[in-house]
């Protein structure tokens, strides 16, 4: 027996070119078996094209796609061991819920009594017991989404693909389904690859996130690393909120911001091996910034800014301000802390060790 690849999916330098424009450029990615990976990016970044390359509906212009260690370039969608949860669910309208669930098993020529057994089990798993005989047109959005999920899960594919799976649901239902998706993923141990433009959803659900921009893979990493150690300016800006300040690395590891009256001593790790004279951007997360007359002692970066706006949103208040030269700043701080006054000048401060650098 040959050794089984540890990767459920492997993309090797795949590109997709439509005429003069490239939808996907030179993306390589290894997705470990049992992982929950999300491909995240703004619309038009090529994330859906990437997903459709795995399912087989798009043939890459160059590069290779492997499922379970075997190239599937020559395999049609119906010959691949993948199953997709479509954005609009794509449930068969002429079939009942149970018949939708059974479809993939019937196509795989599973015995009738086993199909019946697995359909019942799947109805149970996706919380739709007793709904088997319903028409799909009678299902609510959340229920239809569960049927779509169940229809793909039931064949136990090598990779489960989810195309914006929760995009059509309202916020509360989305939160609930996120939790259920995560539980199902953990319980079944299948490989999930999802596509979304919702960074919060990606952060909540995934083991690893692939951030795409303009057809290229910007970073493929754990949610925490993406947030704390973004590889590029795009990732820093797209994942979570960020204050980005253009800066330049000076002599002795000192970093001088262009527009802030600020010079930082950064560790070599923070500089990431960048040499003197390199253009960089400082990434300062809003929640690391405190606003108030008295800055905490360890907040060694301090600037004075005028407060423009204070937005209260439950637990957090968002405070925006600007420096005399017009540079804008955003801070998130606990709503329990006293808010500064609009129009007043306040000290915005943060610890230098929380600053991250990306290439300018």
């Amino acid at each position: 027996m040959t050794e089984r690849s540890p990767n459920a999916v492997e993309l090797r330098a795949v590109s997709k070119v439509y005429g003069a424009s490239a939808a996907v450029r030179d993306v390589s990615m290894e997705i470990a078996r049992g992982a929950f990976v999300t491909i995240l990016g703004p619309s038009g970044c090529g994330k859906s094209t990437l997903l459709r390359m795995i399912s087989g509906f798009v043939t890459p212009s160059s590069g290779d796609v492997l499922i379970d260690g075997v190239s599937v370039l020559g395999a049609a969608p119906y010959e691949r061991d993948t199953a997709m949860v479509f954005q609009d669910y794509a449930l068969f309208p002429h079939r009942t819920v149970a018949q939708n669930l059974a479809f993939g098993l019937r196509m795989r020529r599973i015995a009738k009594d086993e199909i019946a057994r697995r359909v019942e089990a799947m109805l149970e798993l996706v919380n739709l017991r007793g709904f088997g005989d319903r028409r799909v047109s009678q299902m609510s959005g959340g229920q239809a989404q569960r049927v779509a999920l169940g229809r793909a899960l039931i064949v136990r594919p090598a990779v489960l693909l989810l195309d914006e799976p929760l995009g059509a649901l309202d916020l509360k239902l989305r939160k609930q389904m996120q939790a259920e998706l995560k539980t199902i993923h953990r319980d079944l141990g299948l490989t999930f690859v999802a596509v979304t433009h919702d960074q919060e959803e990606a952060l909540t659900l995934s083991d690893r996130i692939a951030v795409m921009n303009g057809g290229a893979l910007e970073q493929f990493d754990t949610p925490e690393n993406l947030y704390r150690r973004p590889a590029t300016r795009f990732v820093a800006d797209f994942v979570g909120n960020a204050n980005l300040f253009d800066a330049r690395i000076g002599g002795g590891g000192r970093v001088a911001a262009d527009s802030l009256p600020l010079t930082l001593d950064l560790s070599a790790a923070q500089r990431g091996g960048r040499g003197e004279g390199t253009r960089v951007a400082l990434v300062v997360r809003p929640e690391t910034i405190a606003v108030g007359a008295a800055a905490p002692a360890h907040h060694d970066c301090r600037v004075e800014a005028r407060v423009d706006e204070i937005m209260f949103s439950g637990a957090v208040q968002q405070i925006t301000g600007h420096l005399p030269d017009g540079t804008r700043l955003t801070a998130h701080q606990s709503a329990a802390l006293p808010a500064p006054e609009r129009g007043a000048t306040a000290i915005f401060s943060w610890p230098g060790q929380s600053v991250w650098l990306v290439d300018g």
Binding site: Y78, A83, A90, F103, R135
Partner: protein
């Protein structure tokens, strides 16, 4: 001020009757051109004739005679057979055309739909006459076949036979089948097809499991058009059929015009009408079932 008072003054009955009044032209049309003529036909069908004169009566002899005279029920059988064959042939020919226009034509869709409808802009008589030029013993098809050495003598069954009637009807009804089928296939989301393929259904299975069942409303509507029109068709069999094997509509015309036996012709017309209604009732049932399943 006064306008604001006018609205609540309208009586409820009137308010309910107003939208229904829009149906009035349709109702009048149906009464004058359908209900009354059918009633008259039915009335005449139970009369008798004597020496070419109509005699009011109430007898079902005319109906019994239809099935007692082999020539008549053979014509009826030929009509049903021809209509059924034409329907099936149209369905088979129309499906790929409708599928291509709905799913593959892209920006050519509009032009292709116009091309499908275009034959309607020319009179049916001219179109049928054109088929005579093609199918005749010295017509285009026979000339080509003989030049190529496919046959020694012209194929005479091509014209003035049930074959030519069927060809003419298929040609005439194909657009009637393409259009409803196109509408039904347009409603099949590409995602449903992709979902089937994604769940390991081969293209052939995808066709039988998803595309064909979801085309059912169009298939049924097209079949109704073809079958019902084919059953009562007169012009095409009259011009292409040759007159040796008559279709039912030709026999009816014969009764009225040549034999002047109006009651007998009327009875045949009623039988034809009942057949058409039966076909319609059956198809309504299918459509209801099919559309109940497509409503998402």
């Amino acid at each position: 001020m006064s306008a604001a008072h006018d609205i609540p003054r309208r009586r409820p009955l009137l308010r309910a009757a107003l939208p229904a009044a829009g149906l009035l032209p349709l109702v009048l049309w149906q009464i004058v051109f359908f209900v009354v003529p059918v009633a008259l036909i039915f009335g005449v069908s139970v009369w008798r004739t004597q020496s070419y004169r109509l005699i009011p009566a109430f007898t079902f002899d005319n109906y019994i005679a239809i099935f007692a005279r082999p020539a008549i029920w053979r014509a009826l059988l030929l009509s049903v057979e021809t209509a059924a064959f034409v329907t099936v042939a149209c369905a088979v020919l129309a499906f790929p055309v409708a599928y291509f226009i709905a799913k593959k034509a892209g920006r050519w869709r509009g032009l292709l739909l116009v091309a499908v409808i275009a034959p309607f802009w020319i009179s049916i008589v001219m179109r049928v006459a054109a088929w005579r030029l093609l199918l005749g013993e010295r017509g285009v098809i026979n000339q080509v076949a003989m030049t190529l050495g496919l046959t020694d003598a012209p194929m005479s069954f091509l014209l003035y036979s049930p074959v030519s009637t069927a060809i003419g009807l298929i040609y005439a009804y194909l657009p009637l089948y393409v259009l409803p089928l196109y509408a039904a296939i347009s409603n099949i989301h590409d995602n449903w097809i992709e979902a089937a393929l994604d769940l390991n259904a081969s293209p052939a299975r995808t066709f039988f499991e998803v595309i064909l069942p979801l085309s059912a409303p169009g298939l049924v509507v097209g079949a109704v058009f073809c079958f019902v029109f084919g059953l009562g068709e007169f012009v095409t069999p009259a011009l292409l059929g040759g007159g040796k094997q008559l279709m039912f509509s030709q026999v009816i015309q014969d009764e009225f015009q040549r034999r002047l036996d109006w009651p007998s012709g009327a009875a045949m017309a009623v039988v034809l009408l009942v057949l058409v209604f039966a076909a319609l009732a059956l198809s309504m049932k299918w459509i209801r079932r099919a559309s109940g399943e497509t409503g998402l």
